[in-house]
Symmetry: C3
Subunit: 137 residues, 3 copies
């Protein structure tokens, strides 16, 4: 049984989806894992993970608009000290994923044809985000 | 350490929850894994996964109605080329799961008494969906 | 390859977030796993899991208010036999997590500085909840 870790560092420039499918695939290839499980884990509570369509860029814009709308439609927030975009960011993170497991078969992630792996940045200001990749195979 | 893969193929007939708990349990039994981790991964972005109550069928109808309502309550969509039900499907997928990990103990999934594993179909037209099962044990 | 299981039992006192980060960390230490994957799995459909900020308690109150508001804003429910708070609880569970995988590196969970692991209780009445921890390393 083999294990390996890799940190994906993503410099964000405001809210939106930042794809890292290639870096994840490349990590699996470099580690030469034939069969196993890749875990992607985001080490933040105001950015999250999402597997979504990587074909039409409008899908990403619509997703972003929807989550922006939703997190601001509820009751008024108490937690405002870190800025008006902080609490909506926690909510959007809670509604999506902190951790995603993806099986590896024949040396490749078993993603469907249109699936891409994304960091979902929710804060307005630029941030350096870390996604921990862990492979077990 | 043992690994095995199995594809659950589900022919859907419109939006709703399609249970595959039995097929997942049967895969674990067939592979004779005593302790381990089962990962369920859906290879689509307009269908998703959900663990929910398998007792009262009304729970499933209420869940479906809620997610249908929610995905249509937000801002207007740009991505409409694949039909009016496509973008709401991506949103409903983003709000639920693409991947679920379930521990296996004493040869059985550690599901609670009322928990069932479901494919959540979001598109109106029938689709052939694939859920990849991967066991590590 | 080593495996171990541990049940976190949490007695809840109404809706809210109940942290169990310390018990999860302690399980990893006790099992002396240097590298691996911890899976947290909740065996219920009206309580769920969430990784969120453990600094300002107001974040938790705002999260709880948001999810309470959201689950009650949709269409009317059919499933009411188990009380008016049961169906909203299933919805709040569906919108958050049943299972979370967290890599272990150098003997520690790779959580970010502000991340805590929580059971999210959705029912009004007190419940005894079980979270199954499984480590593979």
């Amino acid at each position: 049984m083999k294990q390996a870790f890799h940190i994906v560092a993503i410099q964000t420039r405001g809210p939106g989806l930042y794809e890292f499918t290639d870096e994840a695939e490349s990590f699996v290839r470099t580690e030469k894992v034939e069969s196993g499980l890749l875990t992607c884990f985001v080490r933040h509570t105001s950015a999250s993970l999402l597997i979504q369509e990587n074909a039409d860029p409008d899908v990403q814009k619509d997703l972003q608009d929807f989550f922006a709308w939703l997190a601001k439609s509820g009751p008024r927030f108490r937690h405002t000290a870190e800025g008006p975009d902080d609490m909506p960011s926690h909510i959007r993170s809670a509604l999506t994923q902190t951790s995603i497991g993806i099986p590896v078969q024949q040396g490749r992630l078993v993603l469907g044809t249109w699936q891409g792996i994304y960091l979902f940045e929710h804060r307005d200001a630029p941030h350096r985000r870390e996604v921990m990749l862990h492979i077990l195979g």
